[in-house]
């Protein structure tokens, strides 16, 4: 054996998925440039959970970090997937919307401030139902208000993935970044099985789940922009690239004629083959693994 030691990359690689929401958000920023806003010490909790005997969380499961990424102003808003499935309640939704709106306000007067949404979420918190749903509608509105002025980047790393109403927030973002482990869809497999039967979707079929909702599929079919490894340094670099990029001339969710035609061309007589769909829809050669 020669003296030069070869350290396999997986030994030095730092997993991003193993980090909690707070550490994930912090890891995206230039060293020493960030601080948390309305964090746990401010104790702004859900007023609705204790009424139902459910322990709240001091930050209501939403972490807002402001600072610089690649030298440019940015705000990261992370949902903590381990608390109530990362679901949106009155307070967590308001934190996300307010942070987006403040980024818009700054951007409109010349201080372009990108927003990164770290979405590990099942969608609306059922224990807050209509305030959660209303909050999701407001998040979508606020993403759309910021998007013309600064990049809005959705990052989905797993293991919860991004489901429910918050998948629309991903859908209207400037960019969507996913790992292979991550999933993105409106309805999760259990919900489909429950509502439409096991023949429609067998939620125990893991291969099927990732074939339809997984990061590789979403990037492959052109509904997400970048597939990244579970590596904190690489994810940081990918996000930095999007924060610094020029604004897009148009956004995927505006391409109604293109996608309307694609839907019209679908053969619905059977289930749709995901690999086949990738071939039909992905006209790009870029968007691969970073």
């Amino acid at each position: 054996m020669n003296q030069t030691s070869f350290i396999p990359e997986f030994v030095t690689r730092k997993s991003f998925i193993e980090l909690d929401g707070r550490k994930r958000a912090q890891s995206l920023f230039d060293d020493g440039t960030w601080r948390e806003l309305v964090g746990p010490f401010d104790r702004m909790e859900s007023p609705w959970l204790p009424l139902q005997g459910i322990a709240p969380q001091f930050d209501d499961g939403c972490i807002v970090i402001k600072g610089k990424i690649g030298g440019m102003p940015a705000v990261a808003i992370a949902l903590e997937g381990a608390f109530q499935g990362g679901s949106i309640g009155e307070v967590s939704g308001a934190k996300m919307t307010a942070a987006l709106d403040l980024a818009t306000k700054d951007s409109e007067v010349g201080k372009r401030t990108a927003a990164i949404l770290l979405l590990e979420t099942g969608g609306v918190r059922l224990q807050e139902a209509n305030l959660g749903l209303a909050a999701v509608a407001e998040v979508i509105a606020s993403v759309l208000a910021l998007r013309p002025h600064a990049p809005v980047i959705t990052l989905i790393a797993g293991t919860v993935g991004c489901f429910g109403g918050m998948s629309l927030a991903a859908g209207v973002s400037s960019y969507v970044v996913m790992t292979r482990e991550a999933r993105l869809g409106l309805n999760g497999p259990e919900v489909i099985e429950q509502e439409s039967g096991i023949d429609e979707f067998d939620s125990s079929d893991r291969a099927l789940i990732w074939a339809i909702h997984g990061g590789e599929q979403r990037v492959g079919m052109g509904l997400a922009d970048a597939l990244v490894e579970d590596d904190a340094e690489k994810i940081k670099a990918t996000i930095r690239g999007y924060v610094k990029a020029d604004l897009r001339p148009e956004y995927r969710s505006q391409l109604v004629e293109l996608y309307g035609d694609r839907i019209a061309a679908l053969d619905t007589s059977e289930q749709i083959d995901p690999i086949n769909l990738r071939q039909k829809w992905n006209s790009k050669t870029t968007g691969g693994l970073r």
Partner: protein, 98 residues
């Protein structure tokens, strides 16, 4: 859901830092540890699992038998075991001792 409070007046050592540790996931808890406003330490627990007052007291009696900081401790708990609780408290102490 229960709210449980304890006081440890003998814990008088002045503390200057604060710590936040943990996530309120199933079987887990979070803790805020800060300098106390008054002399002695004060603990407030909000827990979704009822009926474990004695268990909580035992954990904190044990914790304050070794720790003498005048801290205010606040906990949101979703069913952490005594072992997990002590672990979280120790993690918080590490941060305030840095």
């Amino acid at each position: 859901m229960e709210k449980i409070d304890f006081d440890y007046p003998a814990a008088k050592r002045r503390i200057t830092k604060k710590a936040h540790v943990g996530v309120v996931g199933s079987g887990d808890m979070e803790v805020l540890m800060e300098p106390a406003q008054s002399k002695g330490a004060h603990v407030s627990i909000t827990t979704s699992v009822d009926g474990f007052q004695d268990s909580w007291k035992a954990v904190f009696d044990r914790f304050f038998s070794k720790f003498d900081g005048a801290v205010r401790i606040q906990i949101n708990d979703a069913g952490a075991t005594p072992g997990s609780v002590l672990l979280r408290l120790e993690q918080a102490v590490e941060v305030i001792n840095q």
